[in-house]
């Protein structure tokens, strides 16, 4: 059972960049059905169809673990983010850059800066206790919906960068990231 938080970002103007599609770009599939924006990333589109990357840190997958999944429809890019986290803090966040659109999405569902049409939903297990270091948490998830128009003229492709830092109970801050290009056609 999960408690889900849906936050629709307020309006703001952000500049966008123009990018050419590149060989080796990560092809972002079109969802086969309307996606439920609840943060949980459930269903065959998210599990089997989405383009998926694992954030890297050091010499391998980041620890704590994070991944990012990408889907699209005619109007929007859907970014699913997963964060394994033994001690969820309200300051925990992902940094998501899409072209020149640079967003920070935190575990409370706040998106900064606010961008017109951007939506975010957070999926936090009901047993997760935010800002309670005396117990063990497990994970939190994000679905970020970005209108393709907000990416600017992208000619079917855009740069992408997803990063997250976390400080587990050992007090050591560790970061993971993925950078690449997304093909949107």
């Amino acid at each position: 059972m999960t408690a889900r938080l849906l936050v629709v970002a307020a309006l703001s103007a952000i500049g966008c960049a123009h990018h050419e599609p590149a060989a080796g770009a990560l092809a972002v599939p079109i969802a086969t059905r309307a996606l439920t924006v609840d943060g949980a990333q459930e269903g065959p589109d998210w599990n089997q169809r989405a383009a998926r990357v694992v954030l890297a840190g050091g010499d391998g997958p980041a620890r704590p673990f994070s991944d990012a999944r990408f889907l699209r429809d005619d109007g929007a890019l859907y970014v699913g983010l997963y964060a394994a986290d033994e001690d969820v803090r309200s300051s925990d966040a992902f940094d998501v850059d899409l072209g020149e659109l640079a967003l920070r999405v935190d575990v409370r569902g706040r998106v900064t800066p606010a961008v017109p049409g951007v939506k975010v939903a957070i999926d936090v297990d009901e047993e997760t206790t935010i800002d309670r270091p005396d117990d063990f948490d497990e994970e939190w998830k994000v679905v970020l919906v970005v209108p393709q128009a907000a990416l600017g003229p992208h000619d079917g492709g855009t740069t992408a960068h997803v990063a997250r830092c976390d400080t587990p109970k050992d007090g050591v801050t560790r970061c993971g990231a993925w950078s690449g290009r997304l093909a949107l056609e």
Binding site: E42, N47, A84, K141, P168
Partner: protein, 325 residues
Amino acid sequence: MNRGLLVLVAAGACRTPSSPPPSNGDLDARPVDAMNPPSWPDASASPTSDAAVVSASVLRFAIVGDTRPPNLDDTAHYPTDIITKIWQDVAAEVPQPAFAVSTGDYMFADTGHTQQDAQLDLYLGARQQFPGTVYAAMGNHECTGATASNCGPGTKDGVTSNFSAFLARMVTPLGFDRPWYVVHLQDPGGAWTAKLVLIAANAWTTEQATWLDATLAEPTTYTFVVRHEGANATTAPGVTPSAAILAKHPLTLLVVGHTHSYAHYASDHEVIVGNGGAPLTSGTNYGYGMVERRDDGAIKFTAYDYQSHAVLGTWAITASGAPTT
């Protein structure tokens, strides 16, 4: 497998399985559609939660825990490579352990959908790398997925498809019909005895509580208890009541998972081995644990990195669980 170290012996009132515990290959060969839906035996029948005595000249076993994909029904991203390597590592231990325990959570499956067996296929396929017997504890994902869930006949969540698949494929083949059970071990020379007690905190009933109290009252040199959730996961129905029962009896070590990491809490006699492929929640890498009785009678624990075989942590305790050098 070092079969020479593992012999089944009928023992008193303990149930003797109709056949020896199968190899992992036997477990995997069991056809899914031949499994009966789980239901407890009639009240008049003896529950099958007690194993025969395992006679072992050395006390040495592996611990592997928590193996699931990040998302619900996310079978495409099941951590098959990781858990396969972990079981290969366990099999490569010298001497090879005769058995292992797993701390629960082998799936992340919607109880209303059909991914349970597909994910258990991947897990049990990986587990075939290790030829020894594996005593599997039940995790919350073998109930509904919620830590607070409680499964089994007569419980609030009942017999879910996750519960049925786990019981049929990972417990019943061992000769048990409950997700809680005990394995008795003894040195053929009489130097020591041990019991391996598997608690199902997500299938908690008064029957299990009564069984646990009686089982822990049986005197042995060593008592190892395996329960999926650690001491602070108190929303699991069986954590607080089983802790109260454990407090009444001698305890060498409480082995848990649930948290996707490795950690040792000496004051609680608790070790977390939950880094078996589920998304890591800390900076510790995937791996497994090894328990071994030393010649001086102390129990040595070592946690290993699954890729480098680097030691993630090592420590020793006495039979009473007290730290020792």
